[in-house]
Amino acid sequence: MRLLTHNALTNNSAAAKGNGYPLKIMAKVVRVDDADNTAVSDEQRQRQMMFVKGVLPSLDWGALVKAAAELGIPTLPHTLTAEMADDVDFCKALYHVLMNVHLMEGMLRCPVTKREFPVLDGIPNMMLEEDECHAVRM
């Protein structure tokens, strides 16, 4: 599970009442891929930069900073400024953080219900039980 993936994940159960975000990460095994992979062509590099710029507006920055720290990367700035978004080195570093850091094994915990979702072999298991999907009736 990448940080890009984690940034979108929410506990969509009825009990969470729309507040099941962000999921707290309890990391057990983290894998970090090589940032300066020489196999990446210039064209690919450019596309990666465009991808980061495109995805930036829809990221929950606070959740990203917190999650990165939970995966052992406490170095993201707490606030995102326009200058950062235009800085090539910043975008390169951000791409690395979003795409190359993988949670291979761990748990994701809902901040409201404390329900835990396991991450095994890099894939989060977000399967809800039938009754978790039904609106709570009085």
């Binding site: 969509n12 596309r47 894939i123 999907c133």
Partner: protein, 277 residues
């Protein structure tokens, strides 16, 4: 991108499900079909560079791979079968496309199951007045613990689910959702509608989905007048389902299927959005 190259890349994929589950309607998908769908979507700028895509019910990853192959920025692959998802991941790795894909184990909530209400005394009194015909219904309700919902109930359930569809992602996450949903043939009639609704929640630009041609009239009316979304039948196709399960009598079975596209963009693409790559 050439259609032929896309087809050929997809043909190399492992398409058999490790543990085919008839309730999930898991059948090996066709590379030709997936290539045709994605090629069409590509021509409309719904997938490809600058676009994010989600494959809802990705199975062994055929549509996912096609979307990634045509260089979509990012593709989400979601399925409820872990073994299928593992195969999908290997497939994407073999094609060296896994960098662009996020895999997720999640399940679209099922439809049409509800607990029977226990008849109250008040109801029994009314039934007596009516002369006993509805008494039979009351007895049935008391003995069954789970009822199949009526078709109308299923449609209402889907319409009013408030986004609680089992998928842990926010609305408008991606530009385009591609889905090859279960048709609801194994005790979950309406499942294709549920998948379609979820797809419209997750996408901001377009949804491509497959539905039995026999349901076309109902579907178009429902999507356009109840959901208020424009729907077009992009192509008529034939699903060639090979003998997969014990109960299958024929070697292959052809099912007439519509590829539909639902347009979710708030404005038309006349202002140059089409050319934006």
């Amino acid at each position: 991108m050439k259609l032929k190259h896309l087809e050929s890349a997809l043909s190399s994929m492992q398409r058999d499900f490790p543990n085919p589950d008839v309730r999930l309607e898991q059948y090996p998908s066709s590379p030709q079909l997936a290539a045709a769908v994605v090629f069409t979507a590509f021509e409309r700028n719904d997938v490809g560079p600058g676009r994010t895509v989600l494959d809802l019910g990705c199975g062994t990853g055929m549509l996912t791979a096609a979307a990634a192959y045509c260089e979509s920025d990012h593709v989400w692959a979601i399925d409820c079968d872990e073994s299928a998802l593992m195969v999908a991941r290997v497939n994407l790795q073999e094609l060296e496309l896994d960098e662009q894909v996020s895999f997720l184990l999640a399940q679209v909530k099922s439809v049409g199951k509800k607990k029977a209400k226990q008849p109250t005394n008040k109801n029994n009194k009314d039934n007596n007045k009516k002369g006993g015909k509805s008494q039979r219904g009351a007895v049935a309700a008391a003995t069954n613990t789970t009822l199949r919902s009526s078709t109308q109930d299923v449609r209402n359930e889907i319409l009013n689910d408030g986004g609680l569809d089992g998928i842990p992602l926010p609305e408008n996450l991606v530009d385009t959702v591609l889905t090859n949903p279960p048709f609801g043939t194994k005790d979950n009639a309406g499942m294709d509608l549920r998948f379609l609704k979820t797809a419209t929640r997750l996408a901001s630009r377009a949804v491509y989905s497959f539905h039995k041609t026999s349901t076309r009239a109902f579907l178009k009316k429902h999507v356009e007048t109840v959901w208020n979304l424009p729907m077009t039948v992009v192509a008529e196709m034939k699903f060639d389902i090979p003998k997969t399960y014990q109960f299958h009598k024929h070697q292959t079975m052809d099912i007439e299927v519509d590829l539909i596209r639902i347009d979710l963009s708030p404005t038309s693409d006349e202002d140059g959005e089409e050319d934006e790559r």
